[in-house]
């Protein structure tokens, strides 16, 4: 029979739209509007999972986001398997596959349930106590065992095929929660014309109004008020109403993160994003997130069929489902009576057990008794019967001293329990607001605000409907800076409860399994034991017992745990304090956090105008900062070393073409440009002639090398600065900082031209012959255009800043052309070079060629602790300059001290051995461990032009060690090397002037 526990009428489900999904392979029928939990209950399915630690049978505790037990794996198709979904918030829809978790071989018969029998062993702190020794067991035995047992549900194994969106939004008033308080707040704020965002985690706004079917507002049924309010909010363009949207994080300065679930409830989502992360910046926030009901703590209170009382009411009224036919409500407060009244009205058998005495009860008692239901006041719950489904509740009369009378078994198939209510202060607490304990409601409620927010309704401890509406309206109006206030009349709400930590019992409380934290399987006994063992701080108890540390963050358990600790320590609740609430309020998918930042959109991949040409010519690429640079151009069959050897030889003997477009470029312009350059760089700049270049080195104020690059003087008041590829943003920021904050008197302007100019480097003895026919307006002869000069003219008709510079030691040019023309010019040069055997080369060859010449690379020979003298460049320092950035630091005691690491060349005894970059260097490999490290290899290559390996290294007192032997670590042991000058090729530098 389909849906045997579906009530014949009632509920907000659409009975004309049946849905079918599966649970552990079995088809479950429900209706549109059902949650997975309500559909399971409609089919009489209570056993939906096994608990985390003891593998105890678990059912559905709640109807909402606080559900700790009914955690299902949801399968929406290939790649769309998502573990640990709360059955209470997953909407039932066609085609969904749901699976229970944490059992083997099946939910009904679970081997792991043996843990439950062994529970006396698994006490609080079990892991800390058990896995301490023997120490050597940790790696091989304990850790693998713990890892296998840990975790709940299975992580997905294939990439997530869904799309996730991101949206930044601003509003005047953000309202969290669309229950009576939130709706009322949104209404008040919206009427001022301000921009309002109203977010609610449920599929349908309304909160408690969706199941409080007998409530009236201003003399009308609450449902009418609800639809009128929604219609009004809908009609306003300034209101964004977001259902299925959880505000999960409250960050600085009213930055609130919301997760909107767009398609999970749709059988055919199309191309729509699955979820959208809203990053809302709100002028004002109204928190109206409601409250959570507390379970009662008694033996075996976790049996399937035992629900929270209000949840029983929700399943009956909102979903038209009877969680049982014979229901016992167990409570210490008034609200459960409302559930009992509604259950009775639905034709179910109802008994109510109240811990309170008759005199403690309010009007609720008479109302329920009038229905003919049996009410047992002054009774405690001793325990539950049944294993995979509750079959009865053992109750007994109890006096104020906790003495129990004769037991009585109440047969039942469902229990609705209520231990009172806890305001959902999570977001308030995340906003750094200070909580204040309120004895009248036995709970912490929002105290002092730190950000521009206010709470309203149940999240503030106001539980009656009229109060929620009034408070919400006032909060919404105040948030929108309006004076308007409204009075609401509403049917009275049954409120008030007697705080109870663990139910009084007639057995040894140390022997029963009364659960406090259902998700992490923490019992009252565990918490008591922790306190007895000396854990008195609530933060320590939490970590030792893991109570409140599951993904539900203790929504149902924190106050009970706190109360038990306080009782043990004989302290008040505020004396014990609370633990810290942290985002996310409920679990958020990684997809929502990542958004569109995946694959090509993970990071910008910066490419040059020559990139496609390089791709077409078989280049392999490497990442340099965000850039993708051509690494080498293998011909068919070549590996890296063969290709690089060929490219290196081509440059030295003929001509090579290289894409240097990624070099940073800054146009430094203004009457004081030369003075500015003088202060930023260690070199002198005032006398550099227009049309000439200089290799510049700049330091940070601490004297260490920041960056380097060739600079050309374009005009007396204009310099074309180049930086390293990775250093471009850093250098511009460094220059701007000094210009704006230290020398605002200097009339200098900086403009990044990195991407305005593409740079085609042409290097090798034939370089001049190749470009000669293409260049106009520039005399290329060595006399007219010497090394380190810059000329402006045209190449292929395109304006160019032509640099005669070299990072290879060969005759070379760097052709700067506007980027959109670079490919055309490149191809023209390529064509002209064919007669000369022009060869494209990549960054690897560039590195080898410069290393042969002993040229440093920032970040390779330098690491932020290297001075100009360390790399042998102290000669560049302009001695006449009184000051420049970093100059004073070059006289610091540790910089002038002997023993600093200096740049040297290393050649291995065996010319075939190529050292590892980063390898450590020692003097005597026979010394005892730990050895004294002298330095490390900074660059190391096979040099085709030298016919052997070459390396550069930073070695303590390196220059004084020239000609001496040292030893370098290799995977095979130590390699003996000789310290040499770091220039390996053409030491006199004649080729460059060709």
């Amino acid at each position: 029979m389909a849906q045997p526990f579906r009530l014949s009428r009632g509920g907000r489900i659409d009975r004309s739209r049946p849905v079918r999904f599966t649970f552990n392979g079995r088809t479950v029928e429900g209706f549109h509007g059902d949650s997975v939990a309500s559909a399971l209950l409609a089919n009489g399915i209570h056993l939906v999972g096994r608990s985390f630690k003891y593998h105890r049978p678990r059912g559905i505790l709640s109807h909402g986001p606080d559900e700790p037990s009914a955690l299902l794996s949801v399968d929406r198709g290939p790649g769309r398997i998502d573990p640990n979904n709360r059955a209470s918030v997953v909407e039932a829809r066609d085609g969904l596959k749901t699976l229970s978790q944490n059992h083997w071989p099946s939910l009904e018969h679970d081997i792991g349930a043996v843990n439950d029998l062994l529970s006396p062993v698994f006490v609080a702190g079990f892991y800390y106590k058990t896995f301490m020794w023997p120490r050597k067991f940790w790696d091989k035995v304990y850790e693998p065992f713990i890892r296998a047992a840990a975790g709940l549900g299975k992580a997905p194994s294939v990439p997530d095929p869904d799309r996730y969106a991101n949206r930044h939004a601003h509003c005047d008033v953000l309202v969290v929660g669309a229950g009576p308080a939130g709706l009322s707040a949104a209404l008040a704020a919206a009427r001022t014309g301000k921009r309002v965002i109203l977010a609610d985690e449920g599929p349908e706004p309304g909160g408690a109004l969706l199941h409080d079917v007998t409530a009236e507002i201003d003399g009308r049924p609450a449902a009418e008020w609800l639809s009128a309010t929604l219609a009004e909010l809908d009609s306003r363009e300034t209101v964004i109403l977001l259902p299925r949207t959880t505000a999960f994080g409250y960050y600085n300065h009213n930055h609130v993160a919301l997760a909107e679930r767009i398609t999970d409830h749709l059988p055919n989502p199309g191309t729509a994003p699955r979820e959208r992360l809203w990053q809302v910046r709100a002028e004002q926030v109204v928190l109206a997130g409601g409250s959570h009901e507390r379970p009662l703590v008694f033996a075996d209170n976790d049996r399937p069929g035992i629900l929270l009382a209000e949840s029983v009411r929700v399943f009956i009224n909102r979903y038209g489902v009877a969680p049982g036919r014979r229901i016992v409500f167990a409570t210490s407060g008034a609200s459960a009576y409302a559930a009992a009244l509604d259950a009775k009205a639905a034709g179910l058998h109802v008994t109510l057990v109240d811990l309170r005495t008759e005199s403690e009860c309010g009007p609720e008692l008479a109302r329920l008794k009038a229905t003919g239901a049996e009410v047992l006041t002054g009774h405690t719950v001793i325990g539950a019967k049944g294993t995979k489904r509750v079959t009865g509740l053992i109750v007994a009369p109890v006096d104020r001293a906790g003495r129990c009378g004769a037991r009585r078994l109440l047969p039942c198939d469902c229990v609705g329990m209520s231990g009172g209510w806890t305001p959902a202060v999570h977001l308030f607490s995340q906003s750094r607001g200070k909580l204040a304990y309120d004895e009248t409601i036995d709970a912490f409620r929002p105290g002092t605000s730190v950000q521009a927010e206010r709470s309203a309704g149940a999240s503030r401890g106001t539980y009656d409907l009229a109060g929620c509406l009034q408070e919400g309206f006032a909060a919404g109006a105040a948030a929108a800076r309006s004076e308007e206030r409204r009075n609401f009349t509403a049917s009275p709400t049954l409120t008030g409860f007697r705080p109870v930590r663990a139910m009084p019992t007639d057995v040894d409380p140390g022997k029963v399994r009364a659960f406090v934290d259902f998700q992490n399987d923490v019992t009252a006994k565990d918490i008591t034991l922790a306190v007895r063992e000396g854990f008195h701080s609530i933060e320590h108890v939490k970590r030792y017992t893991t109570t409140g540390m599951a993904t539900d963050q203790g929504k149902t358990s924190n106050m009970n745990a706190l109360g038990i600790v306080a009782g043990q320590l004989d302290k008040t609740l505020p004396g014990v304090g609370t633990t810290t609430f942290r985002p996310p309020y409920t679990p958020v998918t990684f997809g929502a956090l990542v958004g569109p930042a995946r694959h090509a959109l993970f990071d910008p991949i910066r490419t040059t105008p020559i990139h496609e040409w390089a791709e077409e010519h078989g280049a392999l690429f490497e990442n340099v900062a965000l850039w993708r640079r051509a690494w080498y151009f293998p011909k068919s069959g070549e590996d890296l070393h063969e290709a690089v050897a060929r490219e290196c030889e081509a440059v030295r003997k003929g001509v090579g073409i290289f894409d240097a477009s990624t070099l940073g470029k800054i146009e430094v312009v203004g009457p004081d440009a030369a003075e500015f350059m003088n202060r930023i760089y260690i070199n002198p700049w005032l006398k550099l002639d227009v049309g000439r270049c200089r290799y510049g080195l700049m330091l940070k104020e601490d004297g260490y090398i920041l960056d380097d690059g060739v600079v050309a003087r374009i005009a007396p008041d204009c310099f074309h600065v180049t930086t390293t590829t990775g250093g471009a943003p850093r250098v511009l920021a460094h220059m701007e900082d000094y210009l704006q904050t230290e020398w605002p008197d200097l009339r200098v302007f900086l403009t990044s031209t990195t991407e305005q100019w593409a740079v085609i480097a042409l290097q090798g003895p034939k370089a001049r012959e190749v470009i000669a026919p293409l260049v106009d307006g520039i005399d290329l002869s060595p006399e007219a255009f010497p090394h380190m000069a810059m000329r402006q003219g045209t190449i292929c008709g395109v304006p160019t800043r032509l640099f005669r510079v070299s990072f290879t030691g060969e005759l070379g040019f760097e052709i700067n052309v506007p980027s959109d023309h670079a490919r055309a010019v490149w191809e023209a040069v390529w064509k002209a070079g064919q007669a000369h055997g022009i060869t494209p080369y990549g960054t690897e060859t560039m590195h080898v060629l410069r290393a042969e010449k002993g040229y440093i690379i920032i970040g390779q020979e330098t690491d932020g602790t290297v001075t100009p003298d360390d790399v042998g460049l102290s000669g560049m320092i302009a001695k006449a300059k009184k000051d420049f950035v970093g100059k004073r630091s070059l006289a610091r005691p540790d910089v002038v001290a002997s023993g600093r690491k200096q740049l040297v060349g290393l050649v291995t005894d065996d010319p075939k051995v190529v050292l590892d970059e980063g390898a450590q260097i020692v003097d005597d490999p026979g010394q005892p461990i730990p050895m004294r490290m002298l330095g490390h290899v900074t660059s190391s290559y096979w040099s085709p032009n030298c016919g052997r390996s070459i390396a550069m290294a930073l070695v303590a007192d390196g220059r004084a060690r020239q000609g001496r032997s040292l030893h370098v670590t290799t995977p095979e042991g130590f390699a003996r090397v000789t310290v040499v000058d770091p220039v390996f090729f053409d030491p006199k530098g004649e080729r460059i002037h060709a």
């Binding site: 799309r163 969106a165 991101n166 949206r167 930044h168 939004a169 601003h170 109403l241 977001l242 259902p243 299925r244 949207t245 679930r261 767009i262 398609t263 749709l266 191309t271 729509a272 994003p273 990053q279 910046r281 958004g595 569109p596 930042a597 090509a600 959109l601 990071d603 910008p604 991949i605 910066r606 490419t607 040059t608 105008p609 965000l626 850039w627 146009e667 312009v669 203004g670 009339r747 302007f749 403009t751 031209t753 990195t754 991407e755 305005q756 100019w757 593409a758 045209t794 292929c796 008709g797 395109v798 304006p799 506007p818 980027s819 959109d820 023309h821 670079a822 490919r823 055309a824 010019v825």
Partner: protein, 194 residues
């Protein structure tokens, strides 16, 4: 030789793609054609130069689609113009500024423009741009440097009956910015309310 074609034969990184509306979302994403742009820096700007107003507030744009000037900071402007004007404009500006220290740097090839328009244009931009793009905070005539995802952009809002924005980014970020715009337009109108 490219001489004759110098100002017209530019190989733009996004090509000359036609306007695209990836999922009929009501948002048009159109890479701009070859345009000229200049970075102007001056401290004591005065009222105007070469007919371009320099006295607008920071984060505003003046002019029309063919010739605009956006003030990005107290002493910084970004100027956009037709290619046809590009060769004369810097000299004309320099002439008007006279002795006042300034810098005009050609950044035509550094910048890439993408036009984003349509009723949901702001929502698409807000997928990556953290600014308030509401009519009160960012009306037509606004212009600012900001972020779009992980890329820096200049965002300009032109006049128009339907919202029209220009996104300017550096050349090598254009693929990323265009890709993120296209991705953001997919399902931008979809909400959880159905």
């Amino acid at each position: 030789m490219l001489e004759a074609l110098y100002r017209t034969a530019r190989a733009l990184p996004l090509g000359r793609a036609p306007a695209s509306d990836p999922a009929c979302s009501g948002v048009q994403i159109t890479p701009a054609g070859a345009e000229a742009r200049f970075a102007l820096r001056i401290r004591d700007a005065g009222a105007s130069a070469a007919g371009l107003p320099l006295d607008g507030p920071i984060n505003s744009v003046r002019g029309d689609d063919r010739r605009w000037i956006a003030r990005l900071g107290p002493d910084e402007w970004l100027i956009g113009s037709d290619e046809a004007e590009a060769d004369q404009l810097p000299a004309a500006i320099a002439a008007d500024l006279g002795e006042r220290a300034h810098a005009i740097v050609d950044v035509s090839h550094r910048n890439v423009g993408i036009d984003v328009s349509g009723p949901l244009a702001a929502a698409v931009l807000n997928a990556g741009c953290p600014l308030d793009l509401g009519d009160a905070a960012f009306p037509a005539g606004s212009a600012t440097r900001t972020l779009f995802g992980k890329a820096e952009i200049v965002l300009i809002r032109h006049d128009g009956a339907t919202p029209r924005y220009r996104v300017e980014c550096w050349r090598s970020f254009a693929t990323y910015v265009h890709g993120l715009l296209a991705e953001a337009s997919l399902g931008v109108g979809e909400t959880a309310r159905r």
